[in-house]
């Protein structure tokens, strides 16, 4: 069979690949609010006056930035499963719960992205001149208002390049979920190439999709950065 029939013929694989591609994009997008939001919370905790809190948060970052993303995925996935098993033992064995692989994937990737992005958020928190916070306090704004009205609106501009980098890493990292029985793009390509013994074709198609996403993200990032910096020289 030629490549066109393999992809788009009556028994072509394009629909499976497309579903996989959508799963990949959904996975990456689902991680964004938890990963980037979690990173910001972690960054704020790292500036807490309590030494214990700071040490715990730094330890979290060091751990998840120091181990392979694939291992972090396994840790969260099997760890959650083991934990749930223990809990269901505790509550009696009637209920057998299993972690949905997609949800576990989102949680695991969110943990990794939280660790990565907290460093970016810290750098942008430090980029805000202390004078602005003092000025806001002098105007009588309470701490909550200082954060939400003065600090937060300015964070994005400085954080954008770093967060963009993490997003491109995240898109590529979603491919690791294919090892956990989620039918993402790479898994779909694997299934197709096993059934047809044409791995080069299908993995190239998958690589092409990731490449398009990366390039589009880079363009979007450039546009956002330009927009965020429009008030600055």
């Amino acid at each position: 069979m030629n490549w066109f029939d393999l992809l788009f013929g009556p028994r072509g694989w394009s629909s499976l690949l497309l579903t996989g591609a959508l799963t990949t994009v959904a996975l990456a997008l689902a991680v964004i609010p938890f990963g980037f939001g979690g990173g910001l919370v972690l960054a704020l905790l790292k500036m807490s006056p309590s030494r214990l809190v700071r040490a715990l948060c730094d330890g979290f970052t060091t751990f998840f930035r120091g181990i392979p993303d694939l291992l972090a995925l396994f840790l969260v996935y099997f760890g959650l499963q083991a934990l749930i098993d223990k809990l269901s033992h505790f509550f009696g064995d009637e209920v057998h719960l299993e972690v949905n692989a997609f949800v576990a994937g989102v949680i695991a990737l969110s943990v990794v992205v939280t660790a990565y992005s907290s460093e970016v958020w810290i750098a942008s928190l430090k980029a805000i001149p202390p004078g602005q916070i003092e000025a806001a306090r002098a105007l009588g704004l309470d701490r909550r208002r200082v954060f939400f009205l003065v600090v937060l609106p300015q964070l994005g501009r400085v954080a954008l390049p770093g967060l963009g980098n993490i997003w491109t890493i995240l898109v590529k990292d979603t491919s690791l979920i294919s090892t956990l029985a989620v039918m993402d793009l790479l898994r779909a390509a694997s299934e197709a190439s096993k059934a047809t013994t044409r791995p080069i074709l299908f993995y190239t198609v998958a690589a092409g999709f990731y490449l398009v996403v990366s390039i589009l993200s880079a363009i979007l990032q450039g546009y956002l950065e330009k927009r965020a910096n429009r008030g600055y020289a």
């Binding site: 060091t62 751990f63 930035r65 120091g66 181990i67 392979p68 993303d69 694939l70 291992l71 396994f74 840790l75 099997f78 760890g79 083991a82 223990k86 033992h89 505790f90 990565y116 460093e119 970016v120 810290i122 750098a123 430090k126 001149p129 202390p130 390049p161 770093g162 963009g164 980098n165 993490i166 491109t168 890493i169 590529k172 990292d173 979603t174 491919s175 690791l176 294919s178 090892t179 790479l186 390509a189 694997s190 190439s193 013994t197 044409r198 791995p199 080069i200 993995y203 190239t204 998958a206 690589a207 990731y210 490449l211 990366s214 390039i215 993200s217 880079a218 363009i219 990032q221 450039g222």
Partner: protein, 257 residues
């Protein structure tokens, strides 16, 4: 029900499987060291091609970099590992099948090409950070282009490249865990095998601690090297209102659109 610590760390585990784990560690180290070295050797010509005035050459290097930095390493690994089987008759002609038959060599091949793309980008950025006046001054003093590069440009560029190169080494250590998926018994591969036999979760934690020890010691070593090599810049380094400026996290380079 045993305590939380028993759930997390099972000591018997280590006495039974310790040597196997060390064997896995050896494979991981081999892959990282060899592919980072090959990648480094490959990166320099790539970087020169990218910066050359020849448009075809520079576009080709750009395409190479965009492909290897824009697609998942796992996908590249599959492409080499499973793709080699598909083109076996072709590889047989050149006697290359012996090489691509082994998961170990496939991983080395894919990782070297991948890290070369990143290292080339790091070198390009470092070279671009040296101001043009340095080059012009050296040339006007009559230094040959080799001497300009060897004694003026590279010593300055190397200092800039050092930290990102260290980050790249760390990300290669982390990336080497992917070989476990193509059945190679590296550190994570061995861990998966042991977990499949024992269903003891603590093995994953031991594995994580070994990776952590590797990446953290390299990070600290690199901080030390950087401090020693840049001590002539200590005064200029200074710091901001919140103390010394924190180093940015090891992120991969952005893609050139």
């Amino acid at each position: 029900m045993d305590g939380v610590l028993g759930f997390l760390f099972n000591i018997d585990m280590l006495t039974t499987w310790g040597w196997r784990i060390l064997g896995g560690l050896q494979i991981t180290v081999e892959i990282v060291v060899i592919s980072c070295t090959l990648g480094f050797l490959l990166a320099y010509p790539l970087c020169l091609a990218r910066m050359s005035n020849n448009l075809v050459l520079s576009r080709l290097a750009l395409a190479y970099g965009t492909f290897f930095r824009g697609t998942p390493l796992l996908c590249q690994l599959y492409l080499v590992y499973y793709g080699a089987g598909e083109v076996r008759p072709f590889l047989d002609q050149f006697g290359l099948w012996v090489f691509f038959r082994e998961a170990f060599y496939c991983a080395l091949f894919a990782f070297s090409l991948n890290t070369a793309a990143y290292q080339a980008e790091i070198m390009r950025g470092a070279l671009a950070s040296v101001s043009r006046g340095q080059l012009e001054a050296a040339r006007s003093l009559g230094l040959s282009s080799y001497r300009t590069s060897r004694h003026v440009i590279w010593p300055q560029a190397f200092l800039v490249a050092l930290r990102p190169l260290g980050n790249e080494l760390i990300s290669m250590i982390k990336a080497s865990a992917l070989t476990a998926i193509v059945t190679l018994p590296d550190l994570l591969g061995i861990t998966r095998i042991i977990f499949a036999r024992t269903f003891d979760f603590s093995i994953y934690l031991y594995c994580a601690l070994i990776y952590l020890a590797m990446t953290e010691s390299i990070r600290r070593l690199w901080n030390l090297i950087e401090r020693v090599l840049s001590r002539h810049l200590a005064l200029a380094r200074g710091g901001g209102a919140f103390g010394p400026v924190a180093p940015m996290p090891p992120t991969e380079g952005t893609i050139d659109a």
